[in-house]
């Protein structure tokens, strides 16, 4: 126990300030101001892997490490879409995940936001839009913010999430 406590004290707090939103990532008009002010204080995210290679998942997992500390911004991941405000979707929508993705979207109560991240989620990436992949997530469900990258860095992902709940026309700091 002592070693554990000593390590915690030694390492201290390493959390960094969050990056500002980036309006360039916005794909759809922003939500109503009142809704945004609530979601901006306590946002619940449900992640859906719609066929990703797992690279984007690793960077999403990093969001909860002490450096990015997403929970410190009032943002947390939930196990059920019924508890979610925002869906974070990765992958070029494999045909075998289309039904599950639609079900998750339908199960998420309004008002809801969708952020897609990674080149696959934005354009189909190297897998394209053909055969076994439906391609960009917006082919299946409406998308509010699209964050490119392969994979996008955690800082970029946070920007994407913050952009979704930020006001339209508010320029990045």
């Amino acid at each position: 126990m002592l070693k554990t406590l000593r390590k915690i004290c030694q390492v201290g707090v390493v959390s960094e300030a969050a990056p500002p939103p980036d309006e360039l990532l916005r794909a759809r008009a922003a939500l109503d101001e009142r809704i945004r002010s609530v979601l901006g204080r306590a946002l619940c995210i449900r992640h859906v892997d719609a066929g990703s290679c797992n690279g984007c998942e690793l960077e999403i997992q990093a969001l909860n490490n002490p450096y990015y500390n997403l929970e410190g911004l009032g943002i947390r991941f939930v196990a059920s879409p019924r508890h979610a405000d925002l869906l974070l979707v990765t992958g070029p929508v494999a045909a075998n995940m289309e039904a599950a993705l639609r079900l998750v979207y339908a199960a998420t109560p309004d008002p809801k936001l969708v952020v897609t991240l990674g080149d696959c989620g934005c354009t189909g990436g190297i897998f394209g839009e053909r055969g076994a992949t439906r391609g960009r997530v917006s082919n299946i469900i409406p998308v509010d913010v699209a964050v490119p990258g392969c994979p996008p860095s955690p800082a970029r992902i946070i920007q994407g999430i913050l952009t979704a709940i930020a006001g339209a026309g508010r320029a990045p700091a």
Binding site: S52, N54, G55, N96, G131
Partner: protein, 498 residues
């Protein structure tokens, strides 16, 4: 030695070390497989390709890992997709190699070629009515269905539990949810671009996959890799191993209720990823290995800084390991959970990290080394207990070894080029690649088409062999321990869904 008769007839194949290939008739196919099994060999991969001269037929390939080398056998079946006169197209090898079952089902899904083995349920194709899974009857038995969407931020897959009370009576896995048609996609890309797709089959194993692909490509093109390039590739591979092991040991502590472990290891992993970004331009090394060598070089200053970071990581990992081992709550959860006995691991053909925690010593960096591992082999790490604690211990041991290898390689980087020229291989060339990714050996079989196109690429993840083992390791454990046991294997979904 029964295997000698096949080995001596086989021709040498370029690419992966000590690999030979042999075309066989159907009877010889079965006999050869039986001889491999009798001599303790393992099934490495199985796949089908179109057969140019068998009239709408197909060629079935199987790669085996035997002591003397990798043996790739092939069997051509003609008119396989014509209406069936025969009940099957090729002899199945499931009774010799249980892990062949899903591979044969996947072959059927992709090329409609049927094995003689009875399980013909679709694997990669998902019929609209849902999967056909084995139902368990009995007093008090109920089913828990989990997935494809899981509670955490992980890949999709379906797990059907049959439970009595809290204990698991049976588990059946169902995958294919991330099937992206990778094998078809390879044929749409030029041979010299395929490494980018290979790296994105399982993003956490990008270096292993892209190196295995490049090894096959360079083998068939007759392109030698400069010593500096080989050393850099090994550094990248070991850094990938370190990154994954750091993530896993943190997540496993969290699954056992010790969030401190996740907080510390996720911090350390982040520090490593930032160091990788600084040294190689990417946090995850998806584009670092390219045909002919590595995309970028490492300056002396970057090498020194990276080495310092790795030394610091090694020290912290050892310190935290001691804390884990003294923590009674963690020990209680890890010890005895999810046991995969060595006997069962051997029978199932379990490979890689999970194998090494259950008495299966194979490590292709030691046993089938590609440069520079032939001159700098890692220590052999082996445990017999086969529980979660053993898989954690193997990760810690491998992490320490990988830190040692990276330090050593960075400190003795050969001078010279990091990238050499590569020419387009001739139509019909065939080669393989074999690289020990962090989960286990990644195998790539590559066939060149005309004018630099790709006729066929099969990229094989060791998770094909290991996923069935979890259906056994979970038996008798409580359902609530499934996340811990599953995470202790941490197998690829996208890697096997292709």
């Amino acid at each position: 030695m029964p295997l000698a008769k096949w080995w001596d007839r086989a021709r040498e194949l370029p690419g992966a070390p000590r690999t030979r290939g042999l075309g066989l008739t159907a009877e010889d196919w079965s006999r050869c497989a039986a001889d491999v099994a009798a001599s303790g060999g393992r099934l490495l991969a199985m796949w089908a390709s179109e057969c140019g001269d068998c009239d709408n037929g197909a060629t079935i390939h199987a790669a085996f890992l035997a002591d003397r080398g990798v043996l790739v056998i092939e069997l051509s079946v003609s008119g396989a997709r014509a209406p069936a006169a025969e009940p099957f197209d090729y002899p199945g090898i499931e009774s010799l190699f249980p892990c062949a079952s899903r591979m044969q089902r996947a072959i059927f899904d992709v090329s409609r070629v049927r094995s003689s083995d009875p399980d013909r349920r679709p694997w990669l194709r998902h019929p609209p009515e849902g999967p056909e899974l084995v139902r368990v009857a009995g007093e008090g038995v109920h089913e828990i269905a989990v997935g494809p969407v899981h509670a955490g931020t992980i890949e999709p897959g379906h797990f059907r539990f049959s439970v009595v009370g809290e204990k698991v009576l049976r588990l059946e896995e169902r995958f294919g949810y991330t099937h992206k048609g990778v094998e078809r996609r390879f044929t749409e890309l030029p041979l010299l671009e395929g490494h980018r797709l290979a790296a994105r089959i399982a993003g956490d194993s990008a270096v292993a996959y892209s190196w295995a692909y490049c090894q096959a490509l360079e083998g068939m093109a007759g392109c030698a890799i400069a010593p500096r390039a080989a050393a850099l590739r090994a550094i990248l591979l070991e850094l990938e191993r370190i990154a994954n092991h750091l993530g896993d040991v943190g997540a496993l502590a969290n699954d056992a209720g010790f969030a401190f472990g996740l907080a510390q290891f996720s911090r350390i992993k982040e520090e490593l990823l930032r160091a990788l970004s600084h040294a190689f331009g990417q946090r995850y090394l998806l584009d670092a290995v390219v045909p002919g060598g590595t995309r970028g070089d490492v300056s002396a200053a970057a090498a020194e800084s990276l080495a310092a970071r790795i030394i610091a990581i090694g020290k912290e990992a050892a310190e935290l390991r001691a804390i884990y081992e003294e923590h009674s709550g963690v020990r209680d959860r890890f010890a005895g959970a999810g046991i995969l006995t060595p006997a069962l691991a051997s029978r199932l053909g379990v490979l890689g990290l999970a194998g090494r925690a259950s008495g299966q010593a194979l490590d292709t960096r030691i046993d089938f080394p590609s440069a520079p591992y032939d001159k700098l082999p890692p220590a052999r790490i082996l445990r017999q207990e086969g529980d979660v604690a053993a898989r954690v211990a193997v990760r810690f041991d491998e992490l320490a070894e990988s830190c040692r290898l990276v330090e050593s390689l960075l400190g003795s980087l050969p001078s010279g080029a990091h990238l050499g020229p590569i020419r387009v291989p001739a139509d019909g060339s065939f080669a393989t690649g074999l690289i020990e990714g962090w989960r286990g050996p990644v195998f790539v079989a590559l066939e060149a088409g005309p004018e630099g196109r790709t006729r066929r690429c099969h990229a094989h993840d060791p998770s094909w062999q290991n996923w069935p083992a979890i259906e056994h390791a979970i038996l008798g454990n409580i359902v609530a321990d499934f996340p811990l046991i599953n995470k202790s294997f941490n197998l690829a979904y996208s890697g096997v869904d292709l």
